[in-house]
């Protein structure tokens, strides 16, 4: 059994770790806010997904700063960054890399051999810009990388450098010439975030920052090692059984066969996968740490439920025809589900 003195020391360490997590995260967000105006909540959610080890799908009309947000995040993290512009003629090899024949300069060796040329996906932060413009074949090239953090070409598997973080963007209004993401692809994103247009004051601030002579510069505030430590701390956060049970019931309630909510029964074809529950729980833990707490609360689960579940709820024909949104359904589930069973 641990001695009281050891316990006190251990508690202090844990408290200090949580405080450091909170401080580093605040520092990161503050640095991003130096360049980004108004999108604090989006930036916080992106950071949460990064710390949870997940990926983010950003949806918004052009010009709202989606790409800038990702670039800024990469700059503040001292991580490698690559940007892939998805187009209809983009091929999987253009993303993952390919084997090329290279000439050997050493005498005595085989003159020619295959060598794997890494694609742009081999980076810590990958921006998949306008991901829905590529064909499903190319989109699927990301499946293994996003879930298993590795790339397989031929018979060879290449691990991706941790942390590996994909930020994809898509435009919700230009549907012509696009390919909607398949459900398997969507499910691999921890969050689907909707980027809204800035408010009037925010727009003023954007103009002042971007139309002057000085462009605000950001500096790296977190290194790779520290980021991995923070990720590890997130995994250590304990969860009370009632809170976890609430998350489980929340995910269950998105299924039409098990939901107590009438709207879900009527308009939903498929509910969230277990990945949705994982995303909710990890994000809730990060919310607790951001708040300096040691365990997530019911409120944390409710706060992250919408971005974590909205892209995992598939509407049926009735829902599509009636114009029902997944956001409305998840909100209905949150309103109708009691916290304690």
């Amino acid at each position: 059994m641990t001695a009281p003195a050891d316990r006190v020391s251990s508690n202090d360490v844990a408290t200090a770790a949580v405080a450091a997590f909170r401080a580093d995260l605040d520092r990161l967000l503050a640095e991003i806010a130096r360049r980004m105006v108004g999108q604090n909540e989006i930036a916080g959610s992106v950071a949460s997904a990064l710390l949870a080890g997940g990926h983010v799908l950003l949806e918004g009309v052009p010009g709202l700063g989606k790409t800038l947000l990702v670039r800024t995040l990469a700059e503040t993290l001292e991580l490698s960054f690559s940007r892939i512009q998805f187009t209809p003629d983009l091929m999987p090899a253009d993303v993952l890399g390919t084997n090329l024949i290279v000439e050997s300069a050493q005498p005595g060796e085989a003159s020619r051999r295959f060598e794997f040329q890494r694609g742009p996906i081999f980076a810590h932060i990958v921006l998949a810009d306008e991901i829905n413009r590529a064909t499903p074949k190319t989109q699927s090239a990301l499946l293994e990388a996003m879930q298993e953090q590795s790339v397989t070409v031929g018979k060879q598997t290449y691990p991706l450098p941790p942390p590996f973080f994909v930020l994809a963007t898509q435009n919700p209004i230009e549907m012509e010439g696009t390919y909607p993401l398949p459900e398997a692809q969507l499910d691999r994103f921890t969050f689907k975030l909707r980027v809204e247009p800035p408010a009037r004051e925010e727009l003023h601030a954007i103009l002042e920052r971007t139309t002057g002579s000085d462009e605000p510069a950001v500096r790296p505030v977190l290194g790779r090692e520290r980021l991995l430590e923070m990720r590890a701390l997130v995994r250590q956060v304990p969860v009370a059984r009632p809170v976890q049970d609430y998350a489980v019931r929340l995910v269950e309630a998105t299924h039409p066969t098990r939901s107590p909510v009438a709207e879900v029964k009527r308009f939903v074809r498929y509910g969230s996968s277990p990945r949705g529950a994982q995303a909710v729980m990890l994000a809730a833990k990060i919310e607790a740490l951001r708040d300096g707490r040691f365990a997530p609360s019911f409120a944390d689960v409710r706060r992250v439920a919408l971005p974590a579940l909205r892209h995992r709820v598939l509407l049926n024909f009735d829902g599509e025809a009636e114009g029902v949104t997944a956001d409305a359904l998840v909100s209905a589930v949150l309103a109708g589900l009691p916290e304690m069973a």
Binding site: N11, V13, V18, A240, V243, F294, F298, A299
Partner: protein, 653 residues
């Protein structure tokens, strides 16, 4: 003590406080329920006349309070729920709940969580976590108190009001002396006539009537039983009267035939004599056959024809009544079958007499030695038939007496004292005091029933009702029938009784040989039962003045094939767009609602195609798709052609 000790202590204190409040709420709920139940009991006791004290209700109320408190306080309260109360008192971040649930976890973060929770709850008092609150059942308790108060002021029912009501005995009550004198006199007359005419049937009826009168006067027979008995006797008397009338007709015809020949005139006069009997008629006709068989045979032949004519002709008034009464009595008792056979017996008897007369006539014409004996037998039979016919009037008088007695009994006129007063009051309440009006109303009612089988109520005033019948007989009594046209009541054959007996004019046809007699009189005493002869199909005329029933009959009498159904409709419960589209697909896109939806979609598609750079091949696919799902009507061929043409034009744009 572990790190979780203080936290668990706090949670248990919170639980005790919660239990206390739940007990208070349970007590309030128990008091409310007890008050309502007590109110019911108090009301029942006071209505029953029992006094209700104060101690027992208070004890019961206290018991209800205790039971309610115990039930609620005994419920299980998990510590996790107490942790929720503590969190609510802190910052609603579920620190205490998480610490309580993870107090066995030894990870650094879990221990830090526990320490954090203990630190934060150090100053938290259970009273602030479970603040005093108003019990939920207070409104119910207020209602229960009001109900109990109302029950306490319910007036106690008096002892007299609680006395059981003794129902009057259903059996008959002895009648006052002299009440049945008239009926006794009628029965005595009938018995004398039966003895004088040797009519066993009349004697049996008179004897039965006398027995019934004795039992009724002694109170051994209830009014209802007496009415049934009298009804049966009346029916039998009417039937016997009808048969006697038929016999009398046949006898008259035979007698006239015999008086038409010189040889048998003596026998005919013998039959006409007041003291004629079968033996003397037999002897007279036998001697006539012995002296002059040819003329006797001719007379017998004429007599046979006369009997035949009487057999084929309808009987007099008595011919109608037996049939009507027979129908009325269907299913009422077991005597109806036997009663139905009796007219046929009478007919067979007349047929046999006719056949015997014919055989005797043939024998006498042919000089057969059996002529005399056959003539003697025919004379004896004619004598017996004359005796039976002579009792027709007595039977008719008996039947009338029975009917009047039945009416008196039915109206309660034979009862004195409270019962009679009550019945008179009931009749007055039903508007039956005035005898005038009932007949006409009834007649009109019958007319309506003949026409449309509707109207079960009292007949109405206006209308050309088909009611008719025996009102003429009453006209005979009070009008000119008896005093003007003779005492034999020629008006009794009249038909077309005015429905309105008050002002009715009964024109009756006279009897055969008497000419057409007009019996005009005012039927002042039209009685209800006389109208029953409307069952005969002779038409009536005049106006009824009774109260009318609904023109379409009573509700529920009409048999229809329809049935009522209730359609439940909810506002805004129409089909949504998805249901419209889905339903249209099921029905082959031929729905009115689908046509509206389709128009919206098609307009949007055309707009999109016009403003978007869509390859020509894709345009065709889109338009072809919408052409396939267009709304269809019955003329699918024409629409298809039209749509194709439109698609072609649009595609070429």
């Amino acid at each position: 003590m572990s790190d979780a000790g203080p936290l668990l202590t706090l949670l248990r204190r919170i639980r005790r406080r919660l239990r206390l409040w739940m007990a208070v709420e349970g007590a309030v709920a128990g008091a409310a329920a007890g008050a309502v139940a007590l109110a019911g009991a108090v009301t029942a006791l006071r209505v029953a006349g029992h006094a209700v004290g104060l101690a027992r209700p208070l004890a019961l109320l206290a018991g209800a309070v205790a039971v309610g408190a115990l039930i609620r306080a005994a419920r299980r309260i998990p510590l996790a729920s107490c942790a929720r109360f503590a969190d609510a008192a802190l910052d609603r971040q579920d620190r205490v709940l998480s610490a309580f649930c993870l107090h066995g976890d030894q990870s650094p973060l879990a221990r830090a969580l526990m320490q954090d929770a203990v630190e934060r709850t150090r100053t938290l008092a259970p009273g602030s976590a479970v603040a005093p609150r108003r019990p939920k059942g207070l409104p119910a308790l207020a209602i229960g108190a009001l109900v109990l108060g109302a029950a306490a002021i319910v007036p106690v029912r008096s002892r007299a009001a609680r006395m059981p009501v003794v129902a009057p005995p259903a059996s008959g009550v002895p009648l006052a002396v002299g009440t049945l004198d008239v009926e006794r006199e009628e029965a005595r007359r009938a018995a004398e006539a039966a003895a004088r005419l040797h009519d066993e049937r009349l004697a049996a009826l008179a004897g039965e009537l006398q027995r019934t009168l004795r039992r009724l006067a002694a109170g051994q027979l209830s009014d209802g039983d007496a009415l049934e008995k009298l009804s049966a006797l009346q029916r039998e008397a009417a039937q016997a009267a009808a048969e006697a009338a038929r016999d009398a007709n046949a006898f008259e015809a035979a007698k006239k035939a015999l008086e038409g020949e010189a040889a048998t005139r003596g026998a005919g006069e013998m039959l006409s004599a007041e003291d004629a009997d079968a033996a003397r008629a037999r002897a007279a006709l036998g001697s006539a056959a012995a002296e002059n068989p040819t003329e006797t045979g001719r007379a017998l032949s004429a007599a046979a024809r006369g009997v035949a004519s009487a057999l084929g002709a309808p009987a007099e008034d008595g011919d109608k009544n037996p049939r009507r009464l027979q129908r009325e009595g269907d299913g009422k008792n077991g005597q109806d079958g036997a009663s139905a056979d009796k007219p046929r017996d009478a007919e067979r008897r007349l047929e046999r007499l006719q056949r015997d007369l014919g055989d005797a006539a043939s024998a006498c014409r042919d000089g057969d030695p059996s002529c005399k004996s056959r003539a003697e037998k025919s004379g004896g039979d004619l004598g017996q038939m004359g005796g039976r016919g002579a009792s027709a009037e007595s039977l008719r008088q008996l039947e009338r007496a029975l009917r009047q007695m039945r009416d008196r009994l039915g109206r309660g006129e034979m009862r004195s004292g409270d019962q009679q007063a009550m019945r008179s009051f009931e009749r007055a309440a039903r508007g039956e005091n005035g005898q005038s009006g009932q007949q006409g109303g009834q007649g009109q009612q019958q007319g309506q029933q003949n026409d449309g089988q509707q109207g079960d109520g009292v007949g109405t005033g206006e209308g050309s009702g088909q009611g008719q019948g025996d009102s003429v007989a009453e006209g005979e009594q009070s009008g000119g029938g008896e005093s003007g046209k003779g005492s034999d009541g020629k008006g009794s054959d009249g038909k077309g009784g005015k429905g309105s007996d008050g002002k009715g004019k009964a024109s009756g046809n006279g009897k055969e040989g008497e000419g057409a007699g007009a019996a005009e009189g005012i039927a002042m005493l039209g009685e209800r039962k006389t109208v029953e002869s409307t069952a005969s199909n002779a038409p009536g005329e005049g106006q009824g003045n009774g109260a009318g029933g609904p023109p379409l009959g009573q509700r529920g009498d009409m048999q229809t094939r329809g049935h009522e159904t209730e359609a439940r409709v909810a506002n805004g419960a129409g089909p949504n767009r998805a249901e419209v589209i889905g339903g249209a697909a099921d029905r082959g896109f031929a729905q009115h609602g689908y046509a509206r939806v389709f128009a919206d979609y098609q307009a949007a598609v055309e707009d999109a195609l016009a403003t978007t750079a869509v390859p020509e091949g894709r345009r065709y696919v889109v338009r072809r798709y919408f052409d396939l799902i267009r709304p269809r009507t019955g003329k699918s061929t024409g629409n298809s052609a039209g749509s194709t043409g439109r698609t072609g034009r649009t595609g070429g744009r």
